[in-house]
Symmetry: C2
Subunit: 198 residues, 2 copies
């Protein structure tokens, strides 16, 4: 007599979550069944519904419940600027800064040769088609300042320049409110190189 | 324009999982939607099905798809022995040892005053009713050898003795295959106190 099959199936299914191995899948299953059945039901339904209704916006590629999301069709936004980010969470951070009113393109990833994600897997043709719609004048690269994010920005920049588009990149430097004493040397070096007239 | 509501709902729902905060819930949601939609569908359905069909066995209190599980009704098992464990995972470990053929009672927890889990919350009356069915002769305590597990074993032992039942506890000592050099001092001390004639 082993565990009931529905329990085994749940433990196995929980392992699709990133970073969840057999032990923590078991712990999660017991927790859901024993301590939070209503939360578990909510999770099952939220997951099913998200799978049913979410797709990628045909213009910005972010998650959307419509073919083209509300942001991309908003008349209040400046369609001449296109900001390229890695993930929807990055887009959210930019929106929270309330300092950008253009449109976005969400790569849903970054170049990562070790994981087999090259230009093709990242769907860069779609970004190219989007950026050459005749309206976009400037492409703002807002990928992360990690090695992979920088490599992605570099390649996108080359592709855009080849199409005659203006390309910019978020500036690097000491964080606002940051103390030099607590800023890493690489950032200090970059802030020196990219120093501005004052 | 914030995220689609179905995405927000999924991220919020993922936070019912133990140890999952807002950041990792977001990461999990993106992963499921972007990289593993079939795994996500499987998870949604496995969770829904487990909630629909799983209940607690009326005899051993473990998860079961029947009112009384197959183990408790098996004629091949010795109903005179009742082994008390904290969780189904502990039961599984004992079964894997192939050295026990009696029945089980799964507490589905342990005494934990700090979490508000006392004798009542742990349902010890149900264990008492189960152990005094007139068939059980020996109660074997196999709760963990943690502070909480030991406290649980101690209380259950007192309750059982008061009913005139024979009670035993798994032995403590140096693990099989273990080297003394790599065994903690507390275990060595216990192994000395509980030394057996050889």
């Amino acid at each position: 007599m082993s565990s009931p099959s529905s329990l085994e199936a749940l433990i196995e299914a929980l392992r699709v979550l990133p970073g969840v191995g057999p032990r923590s899948a078991q712990r999660m299953a017991y927790h859901l069944l024993q301590r939070d059945q209503s939360g578990a039901r909510r999770l099952s339904e939220a997951l099913g519904r998200a799978l049913d209704v979410l797709r990628h916006c045909q213009r910005c590629n972010s998650f959307s419940e419509q073919d083209v999301c509300g942001r991309c069709t908003s008349p209040g936004r400046d369609a001449r600027q296109l900001c390229v980010v890695e993930m929807p969470a990055d887009l959210a951070v930019l929106e929270q800064s309330r300092s950008y009113n253009g449109l976005y393109y969400v790569l849903m990833g970054r170049l990562s040769p070790l994981d087999g994600i090259g230009p093709r897997e990242l769907g860069l043709e779609r970004l190219l088609a989007r950026a050459t719609d005749g309206v976009v004048e400037e492409v703002i690269l807002a990928t992360n300042f990690t090695n992979e994010g920088e490599a992605t920005a570099h390649l996108v920049s080359e592709l855009m320049h080849a199409r005659g588009l203006r390309v910019s990149r978020l500036s690097r430097g000491v964080p606002v409110g940051g103390e030099l004493e607590h800023t890493d040397a690489g950032t200090i070096a970059q802030a020196l190189i990219e120093r501005r007239p004052a």
